[in-house]
């Protein structure tokens, strides 16, 4: 009977699932034990090298042989982590002497599947293996990983490049990433660039030089990076902000930059953006927020006007900026007693909140 055959087929499935469960339990236990055992073996061997303060060739060839296997690399990672805690300087010196071993491993790991390949740049980054050392073969291999579909291959490779610290290779990696077209969140790029260990000024200069070659999404991430990194980009940001042919998201980023860094020449432009009567309310809202960083009588007058803006976000940001500018209750009496209930409500909330924070002794 057909039904009976099906029933027996399902029974067979049940039995295989039981076997699958049992095998998994044993595989996991064995794997964990093996890594621990290997880590103990590694500790003894590496400590011997640390004591000698040099790394001999026999040890290097031992590592070349062992570390090309992923399970040994995991045990090596575990060992180094422990040794870093106990003998940080000796361990760093030891790693610095292993460049040739890691160059060899670069080839080996580039042949592995994407999950395993992603582990190698993680190790490079974690132990700053090639910090300040430019080895074309290693960088080419990392660049290949940046093209991969696997997000972690891309991200770990970028992290490794940031840790090596070469501005040119970072720029090239960003171009490669952009060309590959895979989704890579702007937050990861902006925060990642902040980890760059090389000369920051050189990186910034090269980012600006290549700025127009990047996609909008990448440009936005780079502008975010500039905003988080320093106030030394005001001139270029100003050009971007006032260029009405430029992409609006990039212009928004530029306005946000001036909310963080005070730049006198930007003030007049912020006034005009805050009174912009285009249907895109975001210009007014972000400019209203930025003006909290530009104390002046004209700023206060303008922000008071923005309190009556039909858009909720513009009113909210204007009230927030007025609070940050430290205006007093008496100066705002016309708003509180005026006919615009929404403006008064918004401002009252900011004032009450400031009072609450002052009472609690919190920074405003």
């Amino acid at each position: 009977m057909k039904v009976e055959i099906l029933i027996y087929a399902y029974l067979a499935v049940c039995v295989s699932m039981i076997l699958f469960n049992i095998v998994c339990i044993f595989v996991f236990r064995r794997k964990d034990k093996n890594i621990k055992k290997r880590s103990i073996d590694f500790t003894d061997i590496i400590e011997e090298q640390l004591d000698k303060q040099t790394v001999d060739e026999t040890h290097k060839s031992f590592l070349r042989k062992k570390l090309k296997k992923i399970n040994h690399m995991m045990a090596f990672d575990e060992t180094l982590e422990k040794l870093y805690d106990r003998r940080p300087e000796d361990t760093q010196k030891y790693i610095a002497n292993l460049c040739s071993v890691f160059v060899f491993l670069t080839f080996k790991y580039s042949e592995k599947n994407q999950i395993q390949a992603a582990y190698f740049p993680y190790i490079i980054k974690k132990y700053h293996v090639f910090k300040g050392v430019s080895i074309p073969i290693v960088q080419e291999s990392l660049m290949e990983l940046v093209k991969e579909q696997n997000l972690y291959c891309r991200e770990n490779a970028l992290q490794a490049l940031y840790s090596i610290g070469g501005a040119d290779s970072v720029i090239q990696a960003l171009k490669t990433l952009d060309k590959a077209g895979s989704f890579h969140h702007g937050k990861m790029i902006a925060d990642g660039l902040l980890c760059f260990s090389g000369p920051i000024d050189e990186l910034s200069e090269k980012l600006w030089m290549n700025f127009n070659k990047f996609s909008i999404a990448l440009k936005q991430a780079i502008l975010d990076y500039f905003r988080f990194s320093s106030g030394r980009h005001s001139e270029k940001m100003l050009q971007l902000m006032i260029d009405d042919k430029e992409n609006q998201e990039l212009r928004f980023s530029a306005i946000r930059y001036f909310a963080k860094y005070h730049h006198e020449p930007a003030q007049a432009h912020l006034y005009s953006l805050a009174t912009d009567d285009s249907p895109i309310w975001e210009y007014r809202a972000i400019a209203a927020s930025a003006l909290g960083n530009y104390p002046a009588e004209k700023t206060e007058i303008l922000l008071k006007e923005l309190l009556c803006d039909p858009n909720w976000h513009v009113r909210y940001n204007a009230a927030d900026s007025l609070e940050r500018l430290g205006v007093r209750y008496e100066e705002m009496i016309d708003i509180f007693e005026g006919r615009d209930r929404y403006a008064a409500e918004m401002l009252r909330y900011r004032f009450d909140r400031k009072k609450l924070k002052d009472t609690e002794g919190m920074p405003v």
Partner: protein, 472 residues
């Protein structure tokens, strides 16, 4: 005496019913099998990836607002907020919305966190009942807001929370749940990994007999209460495994109301939570599918298997029945409201797989199962049933179900480093049989009768007995 013709008619009907049930059960077993295999392998694969650092290790974050709707939650609300304050995450805010509680929910919060009254303007982007008062606390590590509003139901409270929150993503959760310390990091990770994400579902785990300290599991064991214990097994088989499978083709139709993350703009554009349904959590997800597909907006709804929320599972049968009736009515309301999605090519796999599965194996399953029992009795009366074959069939079905349950259970415990005792393993093996053979049928009956008194309880909060989660 029945004449030969009538007998033949009944026999023919029963033969066709048999064919239907064989196909139905094969369909269900195959789905369950696929779900558990895909779910378990995904969990093992995830563990392997994490071992090899295929994970985001940097402190990347997106700002998140946590909305806690509360109604008569004086027993648990303070502990819940304390646990939220101990979450390890860089930028978030907490908004508790008291839906006109008749107990001292608001007072407990105001006293515990030294909250102060404030006149806060709220931007009404989605309709909800008006607020009665707003309190804020600025002395905690993240902004904490309490909004007390006129009673309007859970969906209405969530809408108020969405209106008041300031960040681009919000999390909805229950006031009697505890989020694991890393849950925000884990639930927000898909946002960084993939574009176009509009919602991410977290995992809800029964917290009965689990001890938590600052959102960390100190002691994990299966609940001593048998009913709660069976729910742990059921959650692993039915929810964890099947949601991972649906996740593979962007087909998730449910994100638990106890823990889900949503993109605020998209939710507002879709109209927010629906006040008129009981299962507002499912309705919102189905609505997001419909809204995005109809407007040709690229979107993705993900399921984060490692973002964990601990919640009390009902320990009394009466409470469990109430909960399941509510879920079933919510399912019916959501599916009826969005019936346009059934067999509609515009929605792709969501329509032909997820929606169809929910219709056949969730919404109609209690009726089909009860119909099956009635058929068996009829067949028995007319001596048309092969009793040994029937028992063999059921025994194999039960063994199959149990093994799948245990596979999902052990896959979960092994892949997230939860150590379970031998006693708990034996308990799981024993109770999964009872769950498959008894509880499942009781729940089928409960769900089939959910529509009795439907209009009367359409919009209430569906109270079950509240117990504090064991937090140190």
């Amino acid at each position: 005496m029945m004449n030969q013709d009538n007998f033949m008619v009944i026999k023919t009907i029963l033969d066709w019913v048999n064919v239907f049930f064989v196909i139905y059960l094969i369909g269900y077993s195959s789905f369950l099998f696929l779900a558990v295999v895909v779910g378990s392998s995904e969990l093992y694969n995830k563990r392997h990836k994490e071992e090899l650092k295929n994970t985001l290790l940097q402190n990347y974050y997106v700002p998140i607002s946590i909305i806690v709707p509360a109604y008569n939650e004086e027993v648990t609300v303070v502990e819940t907020v304390k646990s939220l304050l101990s979450l390890e995450y860089t930028l978030y805010e907490i908004i508790v919305v008291d839906d006109g509680s008749k107990d001292t929910t608001s007072q407990k919060l105001i006293e515990a966190f030294d909250m102060k009254p404030i006149r806060r303007p709220i931007h009404r982007k989605i309709s909800c009942q008006p607020e009665e008062f707003v309190y804020e606390s600025v002395s905690e590590k993240v902004p904490l807001t309490l909004i007390r509003k006129k009673n309007g139901g859970k969906a209405d409270s969530l809408n108020m929370g969405i209106n008041a929150c300031k960040y681009p993503y919000f999390i909805c959760m229950d006031a009697d749940s505890v989020l694991q310390y890393d849950s925000l990091t884990k639930i927000s990770r898909p946002l960084l990994e993939q574009g176009n994400i509009v919602a991410v579902g977290g995992v809800v785990r029964p917290a009965n007999s689990v001890t938590l300290d600052q959102g960390r599991v100190l002691n994990y064991q299966l609940p001593s209460n048998i009913l709660a214990c069976m729910q742990v097994l059921e959650y692993d088989r039915s929810f964890l495994a099947s949601r991972i499978l649906f996740d593979k083709f962007n087909g998730s139709l449910i994100i638990s109301g106890a823990f889900g993350l949503f993109k605020k703009d998209t939710v507002i554009a879709a109209g927010g939570y629906d006040h008129s349904t009981m299962g507002e959590d499912m309705e919102l997800v189905v609505k997001l599918h419909e809204y995005c597909a109809m407007n040709e907006i690229p979107y993705c709804i993900k399921y984060a298997t490692d973002a964990i929320c601990w919640s009390q599972a009902p320990e009394r049968l009466r409470d469990l029945c109430k909960q399941r009736k509510r879920w079933h009515l919510g399912l019916f309301q959501s599916m009826w409201k969005h019936r346009v999605m059934l067999f509609n090519a515009k929605f792709g796999a969501v329509s032909f797989v997820s929606f169809f599965y929910f219709l056949l194996y969730e919404l109609l399953s209690p009726f089909i199962e009860i119909f099956g029992v009635v058929t068996m009795v009829t067949a028995f009366i007319f001596d048309l049933i092969n009793i040994p074959f029937m028992f063999l069939f059921f025994a194999i079905y039960a063994v199959f179900g149990c093994i799948l349950t245990l596979t999902a259970f052990f896959a979960r415990t092994q892949t997230i480093d939860l150590k379970i005792s031998v006693m708990d393993a034996l308990k799981a093996i024993l109770l999964c049989f009872i769950e498959i053979t008894f509880l499942r049928f009781i729940m089928a009956f409960v769900r089939a009768t959910a529509f009795i008194g439907y209009k009367k309880k359409k919009l209430n909060w569906g109270r079950i007995e509240r117990k504090k989660i064991n937090v140190k």
